[in-house]
């Protein structure tokens, strides 16, 4: 993106111990890890903790990543696994925090979602096939476009669009009637 070095170059620099290069990668994939973990945890504080753990882990295991084109997906997975592990460890029923995380004057026009509705949505997301869920989260939470999603996943933009549409449809089927907007 905008002239900064590609993942492969940055990974190679990281492997030589260049932390600055890793900083660029963290910025590049922070939202990916964040979206992935938040979908499991539904809690900002926990999510930040898990995302940090994700990037520390990824740094330590970076030499095991053979295919640098898979970096984004790899980080996505580590974040999700760490979040699931976190829930198991703390025996916490997901999600625990549904108060609006920002004071409402921060986002004046955003309609607030009730805690219950948010809980149901996160629950419904968990019941989607993984590829659909990931596509929806990349698209609507992380804010990627279809080309970026294609680079991340190796699927074609057209296939990803299909996946998003099917995911939306499935989500609507799963959500309880009265919860639908």
């Amino acid at each position: 993106v905008n002239g900064s070095p590609d993942d492969a170059t940055l990974v190679a620099r990281c492997l030589d111990g260049d932390r600055e290069a890793y900083g660029i990668l963290i910025e590049r994939y922070y939202r990916a890890a964040y979206s992935s973990a938040y979908a499991v945890l539904g809690h900002v504080g926990d999510t930040e903790e898990i995302v940090q753990e994700t990037f520390v882990q990824a740094w330590q295991k970076l030499d095991r990543l053979r295919d640098t084109t898979a970096l984004g997906g790899w980080i996505w997975r580590i974040a999700r696994d760490s979040a699931l592990k976190h829930i198991r460890k703390h025996k916490r029923v997901r999600p625990v925090e549904f108060l609006p995380e920002h004071e409402s004057d921060d986002v004046p026009d955003a309609p607030l979602l009730s805690a219950e509705a948010k809980g149901q949505l996160l629950e419904a997301l968990e019941h989607l096939p993984e590829d659909m869920r990931d596509a929806l989260l990349m698209k609507y939470w992380e804010g990627l476009d279809y080309d970026e999603m294609a680079t991340r996943t190796g699927a074609t933009p057209a296939a990803l669009y299909q996946r998003v549409c099917r995911g939306l449809k499935r989500l609507r089927e799963i959500l309880p009637e009265d919860d639908q907007p």
Binding site: D16, Y22, G23, D63, G73, P111, R166
Partner: protein, 301 residues
Amino acid sequence: MNDNYDRTPEGKQVIALLEQAAPPVPDVHARAHEILAALPEAERPGRRLAPLVSMYAGVAAAAAALVLTVLIVVLPGEPEPGPHVAEQPPTLEHSPPDARPSLPMAAPYAPPELVTTVRSRSAEGWRVDAGLSHGLRAGDQLTGPEGRTVRVLAVGIFDARVADADWLRLGTRLVLPDASGPYLRVLAYRQAGGDPGSLFDLGAVFQPASTLEARAAGISSGRALGVIEVIPAILRDHNSDAQPSLAARAGLRRGDIVLEVNGHGVSDIAELVEALRWTRNSGILQVTVLREGQALQLRTQ
């Protein structure tokens, strides 16, 4: 039928709901700083190993066949209860749990059981979170609570579909009690190195051929990759059936020695992964293999 669902009124409502539930946008710059500060001080482990590993690569390749043979002899005996390495479901990282050669020379090894968890259900069946990259294969039988069993119908790279059973629930733990089969598969895979994403995606598992084998095949460098398993079909999408793998479609077989992939000479996994780039974009696989002394050109469709 799914066409443009995102533009229908219903689709838009679901999108609005998703967007409302989205997490706040983090300040990535500040957070990146904090994370960098939290990285462990020591130099990243791993790199240091590399020269050592390549030095021993030849030895390891030669030893691999031997070690596997020994294991095969040892394992079926009386597997001990085994360390419960898999106390939690297998991790789904894009890398093998321990990529570099903690080869079995380390200790007499009793294979752990493979534990997996039911994660979701679709119209086609239940999905569990272990797949090809954990050594699971279609046909494996998993044991659930009270000794009830269920069979794996189809495998994806990181997950699998199991047959329907009325006792299955989200979160049910399923165990493959004697995981020596998966263990050997993952072991073979680890010895070859490489990323499960790109290799299982192809539908074949490779292992460095022994130097003698390679020389006998006329490869003077003595370095070559042998195919040790072809996975006939891979589950790509939980809403449909498993699709024939690229390797199966091209007609690759166990025992083949790989000479060229997509026109590039290939003698190790790194070269293979590189040569597969084109396949990833085109969906076409061209392989030249040595089978029973004959060079053979294979190609998908």
